[in-house]
Each structure stands twice: as structure tokens, then as C-alpha cells.
């Protein structure tokens, strides 16, 4: 059975087409929406985006694999992006990442149903380091002993990444 975008996604895309001279620039929005609806960007999803935007699957594949927010395999409901870049590193970002690895039983880059744990580059929250972003929610000035609480919160309140696409 071939995949289809929901009516809601389709109407969002229709609005966006009017904003650009062709459909091609809508590709990032379409990929965000597709990842939201289908969970990941496996081959069938790439094909669907290509058909929808009149682009070759090869083009869509090339774009989808360039950007780090897109995933080709299933991931958790919430992506926990833990910054370890300089400002966060200097104030314990790696300890926070280690605390998440321990609490979730995941190594960075791994996922379970609820979470994908990601070591992230600077998320522009350096004055509140160490910082974490999960969808629309930031956790700032995080210490390793807050990790239990954050995980409990996110487990009952998932923060998916593409909800505002």
C-alpha cells in the first residue's frame, strides 16, 4: 500500500507552494511533515515527498541526508538534544550527557520507543549552559541530578520535533 500525506499536511503544503516560485523550496517543510506523520524518512517516504513535489527521489534523498534533524530509521517520541559544545562543555555538559546515557540505558545516537538521545552542537543557549532542547522545550542550566526528573517529565509529556511544521 502506498503512503499518503494526511489532509492536514496536504493543506499546509498547498499554502506553502504559494510562497515560492516553484515547489522545490518546500522540500524541508515537506520532509519535516513527513517525519512527523511517518516517524522517519525511509525509502517509501522519500518517494512520496518526491512525487508530491515533482522532484526525483534522488534529489529528495540527497537533501534528506544532508540535514541532521532528519532520520532514515525509526526513533523515539522525543529527541533529547544535549549540547556539549564549548560553553556547555565548560560547565559540565558531558556529565549531563553521561547522566542521560545512564538513566535511559542508551548511548548517544541510540533510541528506544520514548527517546532518541543525541549529542548536539551549540543550540544557542550558551548563557544557560549546560543546555538541552527537546522539540519546543528547553532545559537550561541543567545539572546531572536533574536528569531523573527531566526524563520522568518527558516520558509523560513527549515533545516531538515536528509538531509545529
Amino acid at each position: 500500500m502506498s503512503l499518503k500525506f494526511s489532509d492536514e499536511a496536504t493543506s499546509k503544503l498547498e499554502v506553502l507552494y504559494g510562497r515560492y516560485p516553484s515547489k522545490q523550496p518546500v522540500i524541508l517543510a515537506a520532509l519535516h511533515l513527513a517525519q512527523k506523520e511517518f516517524g522517519d524518512l525511509r525509502d517509501e517516504v522519500i518517494d512520496l515527498v518526491g512525487e508530491t513535489l515533482d522532484l526525483s527521489s534522488a534529489h529528495v534523498y540527497g537533501v534528506a541526508t544532508f540535514y541532521t534533524m532528519f532520520r532514515r530509521k525509526p526513533g523515539g517520541k522525543t529527541s533529547v538534544r544535549v549540547c556539549t559544545n564549548v560553553a556547555c562543555m565548560l560547565r559540565g555538559g558531558y556529565d549531563v550527557l553521561a547522566a542521560f546515557e545512564k538513566k535511559l540505558g542508551l548511548k548517544k545516537g541510540e533510541s528506544n520507543d520514548d527517546f532518541s538521545l543525541i549529542e548536539e552542537e551549540c543550540i544557542a543557549a550558551c548563557a544557560n549552559a549546560p543546555a538541552i532542547v527537546c522539540g519546543t522545550k528547553y532545559f537550561l542550566d541543567v545539572t546531572p541530578d536533574q536528569v531523573d526528573e527531566i526524563v520522568t517529565f518527558l516520558k509523560s509529556n513527549p515533545h516531538p520535533e515536528s509538531e509545529v511544521a
Partner: protein, 451 residues
């Protein structure tokens, strides 16, 4: 009048949740300046921006009025694109700016679009900034509903202005303006060769101005109070205030809008409560990780753009000990104001580990188009890691300097310099700490005995 501590323009509404609503923004005089600007000619506005000495806040400090004047006079289909990709490590002002005052950005864009004759305009926002994306989308919708955006803005029959918020999807390189344009066009975010410059051939092949968020937020103030007033707030060739993001080992990190004349030492001691935990200062990164660091002897220099490039209290960056890096034509590199991201580190910091983290970042973010950048960042990353892990080899430190020197100036975009400059800068300022990690007795290939 020069700016004083407390003179704030773009950050004045930080902390005011109400201000995000268009009604509150209007109640405080919002959009009046844009309305008044519609009656002014583009030439008049460009002259004011030139007189203001406004310099781009995205990293290069390029004069904004001059940039706008590069768009050909008879051009049609001009685009204005806002760079809200903020991902230079240490930088966290644009995210706060759009979150607290989205309408100030929109007002600045309306004035800029009127001046440039731009109709279809875009805000490219970093993919991870989902909270800010929602704020911007709502603000743009409000501005449409109130008639500030649309086919006939502010009841003016001949003037259309549209804004579309375009979400990225995670790639530091998309902050580079031509990569950003490719990404906006629906391609992989790889930088373009320049020339042609975006002002001639940019988005969808049309003349395009790319400006940083903070740059555009300053426009309404200039148009309202005059270019001379803005120039007088600053000093020399740098008008206005300077918004800096201070992070790392200080007691009070934060985003602060300050006079151009404040020195790094005053910033740390008077504004940020000093180095944390009563420790001693070791060094700082002055403008995002791509800028060469400063050590203790160099922080009495002001945060102003030109001072950082020319003040002789800042040592020139070297390739190897005693050999200055040549930026071209014999020009020395000291450092640059960059993105305003100031990262302070204390005397207990392992600078080799810090540098290694920075090189890991640029290696990860290189788009791979140019051999010197793709391979060079990989080599620097690898060598820094082995030095950090106690597996360094004799000659590694000079090797790092020489690799960096081979990257700078030989790539399509400035990510090459962004990796090479801090590499040489950290070596110049903290060479002995790197040398101490070279394992004595091992030659470069790891075999045999070195003399």
C-alpha cells in the same frame, strides 16, 4: 551621545512576555516607524543607514548601508533574507531577540524591503529553534492581519511586502549566506562560489540581501532617530551598541547589550560578576569559536569591531613560533568581533581539550566540497584528539599550525578560516600547553627515537 551602560535598543523588551502580542507592541509605538518610512525615498533611507555606521551583526561586521547599495538600482524581484540560523558556538543572542521581540524584526524587515524594493522576503530560522519558529509564525500572521504585510501594505496601493518563515533542518553551514540561499531553494546546504555575490545573483537567481537578525532590528531605531544619532552611540566606524553573549566560567553569564567601548575586562568583572568560583582568568573566545582567543594580557581592549582587528595589544596570530600568519598582502590577523559570542575560561581549563572540541565541531560541520577544508578539519580534529589523549607525537604542534595555514584562504567559504583561525590562535596564545602534550621521544610516524 555615546551609549552608556543601560543604553539598550534591541534588547529593551527582554523579559516582557506581553510584548510578543502585536497589540502591546503597537501600544508602545510599534510599526509607527515603518509607516513613517513608507513616505521616505529609498535613497534617503540608505543614506541614513550609511551615516549610522551600522555594521552587520552576523559575523563579518560588514557595513549594512554599503551592502544595500550593491543591489542594482533598476533591479526587479529583489529578495530580503534574514539569517536566523544562529549556530556559531558561544552565540545565543538572535534566538533571544526573535523570541522576545519578533515584531521589531518584522518592522525592520518592512523598512528594509521598502528600501530595497523587495516583495518576497524570507526568515530562515534554524530547524532546532522550534519554540522561536512558533513565535515568529504567530507574529507574522498578526502582522498580515493588521495590514502591515500583504499585497497593499498599510493601505498603500503600490506596495506589497510578504514574509515567509522558512525552517531549516540542522546544519551549521546553512548560516553561511550562500549555503543558506541554496538551502532555501530546496537544495543541499552547500556554499556557492562568489562572485557572483548575492546582491547581484542571490535567491532564485535574483538580487538578494542577506542580513542578520540583530542587524535588521537596529534599522527602525536608525530610521526614527537618524543615522548620526546611531553613529554617535558608537565609536569610530562602528555605530550603535554591541549585543554580546557571555558564557563559560563567569558568575553571571548572559546576553548583554553594551556600549562599543566597554573592555573585555570590564565586561567580565563589572557586568558578569567576575570569573566563577573565585578562580583566575585564563582566556576567552571573543566572537564565537571561529575567532582567535585572547589571553590575560589582551583583555583591556574594547569589544568594538576595529579594535579587535587592529589594537596592537593583541598579538598577531602565528602559524608556527615566530612566523606570523599572513591574511594576504602581509596583513596580520589579530582577532575579530565575530558573532558576539564571548566564551570565558578559567585557569583550570585544559585548552588542548577545548581546542579539540572546537576542531571536532568544524570537522563535523564541513560540507565537504573543498579538499583543504574537508581533509584539513579532519586532520586537525584527529591530531588534537591524540594530543588531548596523551598520544601526541613530536612535531604535532607545528603540523597543526601548518595544516591550518594550508586551509585558510584556499576554500569556497569562510568555514575554512573559521576552523583555521582558532587553531592557529590557540597555538599562538597557549603554545606551551600544546607542546607539553607532545610525547617526547617519539617521532612523527610514531616509530624510532627523535633527537
Amino acid at each position: 551621545m555615546p551609549a552608556e551602560i543601560g543604553t539598550v535598543l534591541v534588547t529593551r523588551r527582554f523579559g516582557d512576555e506581553e510584548n510578543k502580542q502585536i497589540t502591546s507592541y503597537e501600544a508602545n509605538g510599534g510599526y509607527k516607524i515603518a509607516r513613517a518610512a513608507m513616505a521616505k525615498s529609498p535613497e534617503e533611507i540608505v543614506d541614513q543607514i550609511k551615516a549610522s555606521n551600522l555594521r552587520g551583526r552576523g559575523g563579518a561586521g560588514f557595513p549594512t548601508g554599503l551592502k544595500w547599495s550593491f543591489v542594482p538600482k533598476d533591479a526587479t524581484d529583489v529578495h530580503l533574507v534574514v539569517n536566523c540560523d544562529e549556530s556559531e558556538p558561544g552565540t545565543c543572542k538572535d534566538r533571544e531577540l526573535v523570541y522576545w521581540d519578533p515584531h521589531l524584526l518584522i518592522e525592520g524587515m518592512i523598512i528594509a524591503a521598502h528600501t530595497l524594493g523587495a516583495v518576497h522576503n524570507y526568515i530562515y530560522i534554524r530547524g532546532e529553534m522550534m519554540r522561536e519558529y512558533a513565535v515568529l509564525v504567530k507574529a507574522v500572521e498578526e502582522a498580515y492581519a493588521r495590514g502591515y504585510l500583504g499585497d497593499k501594505i498599510m493601505g498603500m496601493g503600490n506596495q506589497a511586502c510578504h514574509i515567509t518563515v522558512h525552517r531549516g533542518a540542522g546544519a551549521y553551514i546553512c548560516g553561511e549566506e550562500t549555503a543558506l540561499l541554496n538551502s532555501l531553494e530546496g537544495l543541499r546546504g552547500q556554499p556557492r562560489l562568489k562572485p557572483p555575490f548575492p546582491a547581484i545573483k542571490g535567491l532564485f537567481g535574483k538580487p538578494t540581501v542577506v542580513n542578520n537578525v540583530e542587524t535588521l532590528m537596529n534599522i527602525p531605531f536608525i530610521v526614527d532617530q537618524g543615522g548620526q544619532w546611531f553613529a554617535d552611540l558608537g565609536v569610530g566606524r562602528s555605530g550603535g551598541t554591541r549585543t554580546v553573549c557571555v558564557s563559560g566560567h563567569v558568575e553571571k553569564p548572559g546576553v548583554y547589550e553594551l556600549p562599543m567601548t566597554i573592555t573585555f575586562r570590564e565586561l567580565i568583572d563589572d557586568i558578569c560578576g567576575g570569573v566563577w568560583k573565585g578562580r583566575k582568568f585564563k582566556g576567552l573566545i571573543p566572537g564565537g569559536t571561529s575567532m582567535p582567543p585572547l589571553d590575560e594580557s589582551e583583555i583591556d581592549v574594547p569589544v568594538e569591531f576595529d579594535a579587535l582587528m587592529t589594537d596592537e595589544r593583541i598579538k598577531p596570530v602565528e602559524v608556527t613560533a615566530g612566523v606570523n600568519f599572513d591574511m594576504g598582502g602581509g596583513r596580520e590577523l589579530r582577532t575579530m568581533a565575530g558573532s558576539g559570542g564571548i566564551v570565558v575560561f578559567d585557569d583550570q581549563t585544559d585548552v588542548v581539550a577545548l581546542t579539540s572540541r572546537i576542531m571536532g565541531f568544524y570537522h563535523h560541520e564541513s560540507c565537504g566540497q573543498c579538499t583543504p577544508c574537508r581533509e584539513g578539519t579532519g586532520w586537525m580534529d584527529k591530531i588534537c584528539k591524540r594530543l588531548m589523549n596523551g598520544e601526541g607525537k613530536v612535531g604535532d604542534v607545528d603540523l597543526l599550525g601548518n595544516i591550518a595555514n594550508g586551509i585558510a584562504g584556499n576554500t569556497i567559504c569562510a568555514l575554512g578560516e573559521a576552523a583555521a583561525w582558532p587553531m592557529m590562535g590557540f597555538l599562538t596564545k597557549f603554545r606551551s600547553e600544546f607542546l607539553a602534550k607532545e610525547v617526547i621521544g617519539k617521532s612523527e610516524d610514531g616509530e624510532g627515537e627523535a633527537a
